[in-house]
């Protein structure tokens, strides 16, 4: 008379909290998830193939459109990988400006994460407050490179232009108010009993599992592994910056929240140092008119807000375009850990887990 049956349910591709076109096939026993399988590819545009067929210079616009929430970080990784492939040294001032913009981008990306994650869990207002500050960051992007989201910020060998007039004022204004704003978000979330209940102990991913699954970024640091490429393999001007790597050991959603909030504070600190210690000099290296590569292959990884973004480039002798262009997208690798986090939890925890992953489908599907 009674039948015990598991229900299969599709979370996505169109769903309010899968952050794009992610589809997760869930098998439910009541509300408990017994099986979880993420399915991706709905946003696949063949960025790697396109970049292989375009020159070194043109590839940047496609990196903007991979992880559109952190375009500057993608640009930075792309520029540095190309510079490594071609053997270019970048002037120091350009390095500082790159660092500065990258940290602004980290703040913007984390703010988007904070807003959407809080909204997934039901706190509507944090979303708008987070976007309020993100707006200022986008204005700064616009002032520097002319575009807000798809920045195309850097060039191989440095920058296109120096900082615009009035830039420093904008930055200082932002820094002056930012810590107050962070406190505002924290007043709404950190102590809140419901927020704590929804996040503490939810979607745990231990350090061993995280390393085995290749998870990087705040996800890994929330598990207690202080692995940050900015410190481990310093690039741009990070070797000269004084900052900390925030870590937690709980490895749950709340720990990831705390790590990201602390990272935003550290980013503000780095921006302050960049602004104070900005060296004078050119912003572009001396380059030949046409960039031609030698036979070479490089893998260059940088710390994007989501984790380790790596570019694997193969250069052909005398060629104008990369022979192979591969992106190690942090979201792609991090998303592998979703079944590990979600199975055994409730369906609401799947949403929290997806939120704490901070995925952007543009870079996962590429």
């Amino acid at each position: 008379m009674f039948k015990n049956e598991e229900m299969e349910i599709n979370l996505g591709p169109q769903h309010p909290s899968t952050h794009g076109v992610l589809r997760v096939k869930l098998r439910l026993d009541g509300e408990t998830v017994t099986h979880c399988r993420p399915m991706i590819g709905y946003l696949h545009r063949g960025v790697e193939k396109i970049c292989e067929n375009q020159s070194f210079f043109q590839g940047q616009v496609w990196t903007d459109r991979m992880d559109y929430c952190s375009a500057v970080a993608n640009n930075l990784g792309w520029a540095e990988a190309n510079e490594k492939l071609l053997g270019i040294t970048v002037p120091r001032r350009a390095q500082y400006i790159r660092t500065l913009l990258n940290e602004f981008n980290r703040i913007a990306s984390h703010l988007i994460w904070l807003g959407t994650h809080a909204m997934d869990i039901g706190a509507l207002t944090v979303f708008l407050y987070a976007f309020r500050e993100r707006e200022d960051v986008l204005d700064i992007n616009e002032a520097f490179c002319g575009s807000r989201l798809t920045t195309t910020a850097f060039r191989i060998g440095g920058l296109r232009e120096d900082l615009p007039p009035g830039f420093e004022k904008m930055v200082r204004k932002f820094l002056a108010k930012f810590s107050d704003c962070l406190e505002e978000y924290e007043a709404l979330l950190t102590e809140n009993r419901i927020w704590k209940k929804r996040t503490i102990g939810v979607a745990r991913l231990s350090a061993e599992d995280a390393i085995a699954l290749g998870v990087t970024g705040p996800m890994l640091r929330a598990a207690g592994v202080a692995y940050d490429i900015r410190k481990a393999f310093p690039y741009a001007a990070y070797a000269e910056m004084d900052f900390e790597i925030p870590t937690r050991t709980e490895a749950d959603t709340y720990a990831r929240y705390q790590v990201r909030m602390a990272e935003m504070r550290q980013s503000a600190r780095i921006i302050q140092q960049c602004m104070d210690g900005m060296p004078e000099g050119p912003v572009m290296a001396k380059l030949p008119k046409i960039l031609r590569s030698e036979v070479n292959e490089v893998y260059h990884a940088t710390e994007s807000p989501k984790g380790e973004i790596g570019y694997y480039l193969v250069g052909e002798k005398g060629s104008l375009n990369p022979y192979r262009f591969h992106v190690r997208a942090p979201g792609f690798i991090n998303l592998q850990s979703l079944p590990k986090m979600a199975e055994g939890g409730l369906i609401a925890d799947v949403v929290a887990a997806i939120g704490s992953l901070d995925i952007v489908l543009g870079e996962i599907d590429r």
């Binding site: 210079f57 496609w62 616009e142 520097f144 575009s147 232009e161 505002e184 007043a187 709404l188 809140n192």
Partner: protein, 167 residues
């Protein structure tokens, strides 16, 4: 006991309520005033949006003081464009030594506003202007050029004329 009391008294929730309540009060009493905007939204079509000086908008061709197109058909922009939206046809014009663009087509619907074309131009013949309201009703309205019906690369009036503020 302490924990029990903390559970019973919703101090954390009251803290959150005070933050949102503060913003409510500020916005509620200043919503209709222009001087002290505690709200962060701008009333866009009525109050025009401001862009930064380096903003990358629509591609526009420039003319020199005599009203002659500056472009000399070096095809640099056509080659650098990542999405191949520019098509140029070289030609001759009487009384002009440099080549003259007989046709300069720009398919705006595929343009990604990266400004590579402007960067590659050695003659300062093109710029990206500050126009960002780039909506139109018809697909062909996005094909701009130096010739043809209603296709104008020189003025920002062609697209974006459907703004609410204008009617």
């Amino acid at each position: 006991m302490n924990k029990f009391l903390r559970t019973l008294l919703p101090a954390d929730i009251a803290k959150g309520l005070s933050v949102t309540g503060k913003h409510f009060r500020q916005v509620f009493f200043t919503a209709n005033r222009r001087k002290v905007p505690f709200h962060i939204v701008s009333e866009y079509p009525e109050v025009p949006a401001k862009v930064q000086p380096r903003f990358r908008g629509r591609l526009t061709m420039l003319k020199d003081e005599q009203g002659v197109i500056k472009c000399v058909c070096c095809l640099a922009c056509e080659k650098i464009c990542p999405t191949q939206v520019i098509t140029i046809e070289k030609g001759k014009q009487e009384g002009r030594k440099m080549p003259y663009p007989v046709r300069y087509d720009f398919e705006m619907e595929r343009c990604i506003f990266c400004e590579f074309c402007v960067e590659s131009c050695g003659f300062d013949a093109i710029i990206l202007n500050h126009q960002f309201e780039l909506a139109a009703y018809n697909r062909e309205d996005f094909s701009l050029g130096t010739e043809g019906l209603g296709q104008n690369m020189f003025e920002p009036s062609h697209v974006g004329k459907f703004s609410v503020a204008d009617d």
